[in-house]
């Protein structure tokens, strides 16, 4: 796959790699959960695996942790080949969505567990447990049982338990999805602070795109067992490489168009009866023919319907959102018949008003229409 080449982009080689996944794949009784994956996680980096349910995020995480055996491929942690190393010797910290705290042990015993298995002396264990609990602000809860804590506190204990062993990599599988919204954003900030303070290599799994965009150094967007794009949050948001990424991350307006001609810098296309010439960020454009034109809501603007180059549309609904209003427009050339724009709340329009949509000359992306299925 072309898109996967970005995952092993040559500029990575200068960086220190903490986790290297080399063509690792996994099937469950015939059904493919993961196609061969190539991925390098840089040391100290916060990398997020983002994708819809069932795309293989947990499977990939379990392969790194060693709970699953790869069908093929190699896995390196700190340049050591660990493909055959059992999970308890990998020195990896894991935080589960359901916390997985040992219910029959106190908070302190939970945190101390990973030190006792490694026969750390008693005094040092006590000291490190205290430090770890201080890190997650739970010093006063050492003697409690996990079930006597709130969800957020339990998740912090799970984090302390994973951190206290000074793992080579920290893995988190949708750790905050069971928390309510306020608590979740507080925990996001806290995790990010701790992670960057410790310089800890982290692989974080989520299906929440805003969580991924706000927390990550880099995001790997996955679908159907493949990595569809990997890059910084702004690369993912501003320069999605394919149809799937463009719609999965952020809001997208999609137009059915016909690509007439492409040169190095520009492409000319027909959208309905409107002919446009656009410059895109893409290095490679699809072949002339039916294509999908992708534009973020904030790149579109409203004009007069008669303006040359404007796409005709009718206001269907205006949704007040406080500082702005969302205008949902009926548009015959949009792929799902709708286009969404954000305008200042004062400029909201009555349903039924005819408007024109002006597309920017730079920025939109053009994808082959067949890519939609993935």
């Amino acid at each position: 796959m072309l898109t996967e080449i970005s995952a092993i982009a040559p500029q990575d080689t200068g960086e220190d790699t903490a986790v290297q996944i080399d063509g690792v794949s996994k099937s469950f009784s015939g059904t493919v959960a993961l196609e061969p994956i190539r991925l390098k996680v840089r040391r100290g980096e916060f990398l997020t695996l983002l994708g819809p349910s069932g795309c293989g995020k947990t499977t990939l995480l379990n392969l790194i942790a060693g709970f699953l055996e790869a069908d093929e491929g190699e896995l390196f942690i700190d340049h050591d080949l660990v493909t055959q190393v059992p999970p308890h010797q990998r020195k990896i910290g894991i935080v589960f969505q359901n916390y997985a705290l040992f219910p029959h042990m106190s908070v302190a015993q939970n945190v101390a567990y990973g030190l006792r298995t490694r026969r750390v002396p008693k005094a040092e264990t006590a000291e490190r447990v205290r430090e770890a609990l201080a890190l997650v602000k739970l010093e006063d809860f050492a003697d409690r049982r996990p079930r006597q804590l709130s969800g957020g506190q339990q998740q912090r204990v799970a984090l302390a338990r994973a951190l206290v062993i000074r793992p080579r990599v920290l893995l988190l599988d949708e750790p905050f999805s069971a928390l309510d919204r306020n608590l979740r954003s507080a925990m996001q900030v806290e995790l990010r602070e701790i992670q960057s303070r410790l310089g800890l290599t982290t692989v974080f799994v989520t299906h929440d795109q805003s969580e991924a965009l706000s927390m990550s150094d880099r995001i790997a967007v996955m679908s159907r067992g493949r990595i569809r794009q990997i890059g910084t949050p702004s690369q993912i948001y501003d320069r999605p490489e394919n149809h799937f990424v463009s719609t999965f991350v952020g809001d997208a307006n999609l137009f059915a168009a016909t690509l007439l001609e492409k040169t190095d810098a520009t492409a000319s296309l027909d959208i309905g009866t409107t002919r446009l010439s656009l410059a895109t960020f893409q290095e490679e454009l699809p072949e002339p023919g039916p294509v999908t034109l992708f534009v973020r809501p904030e790149q579109c603007s409203l004009t007069d319907p008669d303006q040359p180059g404007a796409i005709a549309a009718t206001v269907a609904l205006s949704v007040y959102q406080g500082s702005y209003a969302e205008l949902h427009l009926d548009c015959s050339v949009a792929e799902n018949g709708r286009v969404m724009l954000r305008v200042p709340a004062s400029e909201a329009m009555e349903p039924g008003t005819d408007v024109g949509i002006a597309l920017p000359e730079r920025g939109p992306a053009i994808y082959t229409t067949t890519e939609r299925e993935t």
Partner: protein
Amino acid sequence: MSKRPFLGWFASPSILIAFGIAASFLAIVQFSLRAHIPGALDPGGFTLDNFTTLWKTVYGKAFVTTVLLCWWTALFTLLIGYPLAYAMVRAKSARLRSAILLISLTPLFLGEIVRTYSWMIVLGNRGFLNATLMQLGVIDRPLDLMFTMTGVVIALVHFTLPIVVVMLAAALSHIDRNLERAATSLGAGRIRCFLTVTLPLSIPGIVTATSTAFAWTFSAFATPQMIGGGKVQTISTLVYQVGFASFNFPLAASLSLVGLLFTIAVLALFNTGIHRLERIGAH
């Protein structure tokens, strides 16, 4: 609240059963307080003699035998059943899981008499077990298995295994797999993971399974009767003997009653044991 018109109908069979149990229980209590007239089937006047008779050593010995039998059976059933249940819950292949389930459940389908006769064939002096061991040269004289405690325990373990395996499997399958994964990621090997996480969390299941096994063996009749052959006297075989060989219904009734109270006492003891263990587990 809306009325639930069918509730009465659904509950009615249970009322019938409760009525039946209460009636037979009352009959036993009533019989146990009546005098025995040798040669007559009808009991005499009210008396407490039956209960004082129970202080005799024969009866005392039957209680001790029964408890020992239950204890050894529960112990060995647990030792065999736990690994089986564990394998059943953790086996990766679905086929292996159902094979283990089927094998451990077969004793339930066999019926008590068939199963016990099979054991008599296996355990006899020239039975399968002794013949095989002698052929292999492991022993040169047949082991005494028939009409002994050992033989009865072997057959009772087989009889009790299904319920213990099913109960332990239920308890084990409720243990979150992520707990074991968490322990493993924290550096615990298989054995440590089992001893520090899986085993402590399955203690409530072990206690329930053991106490059920206890009650289950306590009430066993055909196995101790046929394999024990009168040499291993339990409360149930004694009730049978007193009631249907000597036709002393009042004494049989009082023996049953004391046996019942005894079972309840043992189960109550187990119950407090569970709470203790849970509190230990909770510390």
